[in-house]
Amino acid sequence: MAKILIADDAAFMRMKSASLVKELGHDVIEAEDGAEAVKVYQAESPDAVLMDITMPNMDGMEALQEILKLDPDAKIAMVTAMGQQAVIMEAIKAGAKDFVVKPFDADRIQSALWKLVG
C-alpha cells in the first residue's frame, strides 16, 4: 500500500481517480491546484503523484518542476487529455515518470501506479 497524491482542479476527476486508486488499495491525499500539490507533497511526502496538467494557480508542469526540486526522486505521472503530446514530452523531459490519458480506466491507473510504486 502506498500513499498517492492526486492533484486535479476538477472535483469530479479528483473523486473518480481517488476512488479508483483506493480500490487498488492505496491511501489517497488530494490537492486542488499545483501550488497546493507542492505544499502537500512537502508536508506528506507521498509515494507517487498523479498530476493534472491544466490547473489554476500553478499548472501541472510547474508543479512537477517544483516538486522535483524538492525531491529529485519524486515519482510523478502526468494526467492529460488527448492532443497534448508535446506537453507530455516536455513533462517527461522534465522528469515525469509516466502519463495517463483521460478518460482513463482502472487498468491504466493500476499499471501506472504499479510502475511508480511497485
Binding site: Q85, A86, I92
Partner: protein, 737 residues
C-alpha cells in the same frame, strides 16, 4: 482454412504432424548450414525435408506451400551440385522461406484462422539468391538505420568512440502499437528510458523528428550501453504500448556504402526494394506470431481430470495438515519445531490454494465455443419452420468449467428449439400482432454472484399459462382446485412437469419426447437451476443458473445419526437452534415456525430413510438449517433438522460409484482431511420431494410457508386434505430419485 475441400481430416492431421517435424528440423539445420557450409550430410537432410514437404503439400493441393518448397528445392539442388555457394544472403532467403512455410502450415490448423501470405516475394528472393546475383533483397532489406549511419559521419565517429570506451553498441528496433494515439510520446519515452541504460547515439526517427511528431510504429535506436541485451529489452518493453523490442549488437560491417555509390543491382526481380523490405518485415512478424501460438500446449482432457483429482486430494490433505498443526500448536506451545511446522503448513495451504485456483482456471473454457454452434442451428430451424429469426449472442467470453459446458449443450439446444418452434410466431402472425417480422432470439452468458447465468430470450408469443394448466389438469398432474390457487409463476413452473406439452401440435422439430422436465433434471444435476419468465404476446426468457465449477464447493458440514453430511452453502439461508415449541406437527407434517412463517421441516435421518424409526431419528435438541433452492418467490425455504452443525469448508466432489449414485437425496460424496467420508445432500431434490408431497393440497402447497394465522389455514381445511397426502407419496419419491 486454406485447405482444399477434399482433404480429409485424417490426411490433414498426418500432414500437419509431418510438416511440423520437418519445419522444426529445418529451423535447426538452416542455422547450422551457415556455419557448416561444407557439411554435405546436413545439406542433404535439408534438401530432403524441402522435397518431402513439396511432395505432400502438392498432393493435398496446398499450392502456396508446394510452390515455395519447390523454389527451395531448386536452390538447394544447385548448392548440392556446387554451382552455388552458401552465403548469408542465401541462408536469409531460406530462413525467410521457412517463416513463410510456418505461416502457411499454421493457416491449415484451427488456430491459424486461415491467415495466409503471398509466397511470391519469398520465391523471388529465393530465385534471386539462386541466380547468384547481387542478392538485391539483401540490399533492399537493409534497415533504415544502417543507411542513416552510412550517411552520417558524425554518428559513425560516435559509434567508434563508444566502442573505443569499451561499451557495447546495440541496435534496437522498438515497435509501438500501431493504433496508439501517442506514438510520438511513446518513442520519446523509449529514448528516455534507453538513455537511462547508457547513451543513445542516434535514432530513426531522430529525437527532433519525434518532438515534431514525425513518427511511425517503428523506432530504431543505436545505444551505447554496458547492460546485457535482455535487460535493455526489458526496460523498453515495460513501457506502455511498446509491442516488441528487438535488440542485437550493432554490426558496423553491415553498413552499406554511402548511397551515392550504390550500384544499381543488375537483374533485380519484380518487387521494388522498399516493398521487398516491407514484405519481409511482415513475414517475420507473422512468423513470430506463429511461434507465439505454439507456446500453448494441448492437454488430454483425461489428463486434466486426473490432475484435478490430485489437486483435490491435496486440498483435502492441506485441510488435514492445518488441523493437525493447530492441534500440535495447542499441545506444544513452546516447541520451536511445532512453530516451524505451523509456518510450513500455512505456506503449503497458500500454495495449494493457488494451485487449486490455477487448476480451476485451466479447466475454464469460453462459453463461445458452445455458442458458436447455435447460429447454424437457429438458421436451419428457422428455415425448416419458415420463421425469421435473428440470433443475438452476448457474453461469449464468459468462462465456464469445461465439464459444465459439455453438459449444458443438450438442454440449450432443447430450449433454443422450443423457442424457435413454439415461442416465435410465423412472420404473418407477428406482423398482425404489430411486431417486426424477424424475431430476435437473444442468447446471453454472464457472471452473476459466483454463478454463470445463461439466458435464452425470445420475443415470441409467450407461454399461455391457462393452456399449461389445462394440460396439466388433463394429464392428472394437478387438481382443478389446486390449479386455481397457483400464482402466475407457479403455473409457468408446471411446464417442467414430466410429460407435459403445451404445443397444440407436435412438430418434426420439437416433441421428440425430450421435455422440459429433462432440461430441468439435466441442469439440476449440475447443481444449477432453470428459471422461466414469460408474458403472453411479449416473449419468454429461460435462465440457466450454473455453478462456476463442479469440482468443489463451499459446504456446511452437519451431522445426523452419526453420519456427516455436506450441504452446499449456496442453498443455505441460515442455521438456527430452534426452541422446542417452534417445531410442530400440522396435519401429520412436521413444520417449523420462524418469525411468523411456517415452513416444511425435514428430519434428515427420516427423509433419507436410514432405517431409524421416527422416534430415534428425531433429536430432542436439533439444529435447523434453512435451505432454499433459489431466491425466486416460488422456491420457498425448507427447514432441515440435524443433530449437530460441524464446520464450514471447501468440499471436493468425488464421483459416486453405482450403488450410491442413485441414493435418494444424495448428490455425491466427499472425503474430509481426516479421511472421513461425507455425503453431499441433494438439496433441490429434497425440497422438491417435500413440495411434491403438498402439490395437490392447496393449503399446505401454498403453505410451505403458511402465514401463521389460523384463519388463513383453517384446521379443517388441512385435515380434509389428509387422504390425498398418501396418494402423492409415490410421486414424491419418483421426483426425488
Amino acid at each position: 482454412m486454406a485447405a482444399a475441400a477434399e482433404v480429409s481430416a485424417d490426411d490433414l492431421k498426418v500432414f500437419l504432424q509431418e510438416a511440423e517435424g520437418l519445419l522444426e528440423l529445418l529451423d535447426e539445420d538452416l542455422v547450422r548450414l551457415e556455419q557448416e557450409s561444407d557439411n554435405e550430410e546436413l545439406l542433404q537432410e535439408i534438401f530432403r525435408a524441402a522435397h518431402t514437404l513439396k511432395g505432400s503439400s502438392g498432393m493435398l493441393g496446398f499450392d502456396g506451400m508446394a510452390h515455395l518448397t519447390h523454389a527451395m528445392e531448386d536452390l538447394l539442388d544447385r548448392v548440392r551440385k556446387g554451382t552455388l555457394a552458401i552465403t548469408p544472403e542465401l541462408v536469409d532467403a531460406l530462413l525467410m522461406s521457412l517463416d513463410g512455410l510456418k505461416i502457411l502450415k499454421n493457416a491449415l490448423t484451427e488456430e491459424g484462422e486461415g491467415e495466409s501470405i503471398d509466397t511470391g516475394p519469398i520465391v523471388d528472393a529465393l530465385n534471386a539468391a539462386a541466380a547468384g546475383g547481387a542478392a538485391p533483397e539483401a540490399a533492399s532489406t537493409q534497415p533504415a538505420l544502417q543507411t542513416v549511419v552510412a550517411g552520417d559521419e558524425d554518428l559513425r565517429s560516435k559509434i567508434d568512440e563508444a566502442s573505443g570506451e569499451g561499451h557495447t553498441v546495440l541496435h534496437l528496433k522498438v515497435r509501438i502499437e500501431e493504433s496508439s494515439d501517442w506514438k510520438a510520446v511513446r518513442c520519446f519515452q523509449v529514448l528516455n528510458e534507453l538513455d537511462d541504460c547508457g547513451r543513445v547515439l542516434g535514432s530513426v526517427p531522430s529525437q527532433s523528428e519525434i518532438e515534431q511528431e514525425q513518427v511511425t510504429g517503428l523506432l530504431e535506436v543505436l545505444l551505447a550501453t554496458d547492460l546485457e541485451i535482455p535487460d535493455v529489452q526489458a526496460r523498453a518493453e515495460q513501457l506502455e504500448e511498446v509491442t516488441g523490442v528487438e535488440a542485437a549488437a550493432f554490426d558496423p560491417t553491415a553498413v552499406p556504402e554511402p548511397p551515392a555509390e550504390t550500384e544499381a543491382p543488375a537483374d533485380a526481380p519484380a518487387a521494388a526494394p522498399a516493398e521487398g523490405a516491407d514484405q519481409r518485415t511482415q513475414i517475420a512478424a507473422s512468423a513470430q506470431k506463429v511461434e507465439a501460438l505454439q507456446t500453448t500446449v494441448r492437454i488430454d482432457v483425461e489428463q486434466l481430470d486426473a490432475l484435478m483429482n490430485m489437486v483435490g486430494e491435496l486440498v483435502i490433505d492441506r485441510t488435514r495438515v492445518s488441523q493437525l498443526s493447530r492441534l500440535l500448536q495447542g499441545r506444544f506451545k513452546e516447541d520451536e519445531y511445532v512453530g516451524a511446522l505451523a509456518e510450513t503448513s500455512t505456506h503449503i495451504a497458500k500454495v495449494v490454494d493457488e494451485l487449486h485456483e490455477s487448476m480451476m482456471a485451466v479447466r475454464m473454457l469460453p462459453v463461445g465455443l458452445l455458442f458458436s454452434k447455435f447460429p447454424r442451428l437457429v438458421r436451419d430451424l428457422a428455415r425448416s419452420l419458415d420463421r425469421q429469426v435473428t440470433l443475438a449472442v452476448e457474453g461469449e467470453d464468459t468462462e465456464i468449467d469445461r465439464s459444465v459446458i459439455e453438459k449444458i449443450k443438450d438442454p440449450l439446444v432443447h430450449l433454443i428449439r422450443n423457442s424457435v418452434d413454439h415461442g416465435i410466431e410465423p412472420a404473418e402472425d407477428r406482423v398482425a400482432a404489430g411486431k417486426p417480422e424477424a424475431s430476435i432470439l437473444k442468447l446471453t452468458a454472464s457472471h452473476e454472484q459466483g454463478q454463470i447465468v445463461i439466458s435464452i430470450e425470445d420475443d415470441g408469443r409467450g407461454i399461455d399459462t391457462e393452456k399449461v394448466v389445462a394440460s396439466a389438469i388433463k394429464k392428472g398432474q394437478i387438481s382443478q382446485e389446486a390449479a386455481e390457487r397457483l400464482s402466475h409463476r407457479e403455473k409457468l413452473e408446471l411446464i417442467f412437469a414430466p410429460g407435459l406439452s403445451t404445443a397444440a401440435k407436435t412438430t418434426e422439430v420439437s416433441g421428440r419426447g425430450v421435455g422440459m422436465d429433462i432440461v430441468r433434471r439435466d441442469i439440476e444435476s449440475l447443481n444449477g437451476r432453470v428459471e422461466v419468465e414469460s408474458e403472453v404476446g411479449v416473449g419468454t426468457t429461460f435462465k440457466l443458473r450454473l455453478p462456476l465449477t463442479l469440482a468443489t464447493f463451499r459446504g456446511l458440514l452437519v451431522s445426523s445419526g452419526g453420519t456427516t453430511y455436506a450441504i452446499p452453502l449456496t442453498y443455505v439461508q441460515e442455521t438456527i437452534r430452534p426452541e422446542q415449541e417452534q417445531l410442530r406437527t400440522v396435519s401429520g407434517r412436521p413444520v417449523m415456525s420462524l418469525r411468523g412463517s411456517v415452513m416444511s421441516l425435514i428430519w434428515l435421518n427420516e427423509s433419507l430413510q436410514l432405517g431409524t424409526s421416527a422416534e430415534q431419528a428425531r433429536s430432542d435438541d436439533p439444529y435447523v438449517v434453512v435451505v432454499r433452492a433459489s431466491e425466486s418467490e416460488t422456491d420457498r425455504p425448507v427447514a432441515i433438522a440435524v443433530d449437530e452443525l460441524v464446520d464450514q469448508q471447501e468440499i471436493v466432489v468425488k464421483s459416486l460409484s453405482g450403488f450410491l449414485g442413485r441414493a435418494r437425496g444424495i448428490a455425491g460424496a466427499s472425503i474430509l482431511g481426516d479421511g472421513q467420508v461425507v455425503l453431499i445432500l441433494d438439496v433441490p431434490s429434497m425440497i422438491k420431494a417435500s413440495q411434491a408431497r403438498d402439490t395437490d393440497q392447496p393449503a399446505t402447497a401454498a403453505g410451505n410457508v403458511v402465514e401463521l394465522d389460523a384463519s388463513v389455514a383453517p384446521r379443517g381445511d388441512l385435515d380434509s386434505n389428509e387422504p390425498s397426502a398418501a396418494d402423492e407419496a409415490p410421486e414424491a419419491e419418483r421426483m426425488a430419485s
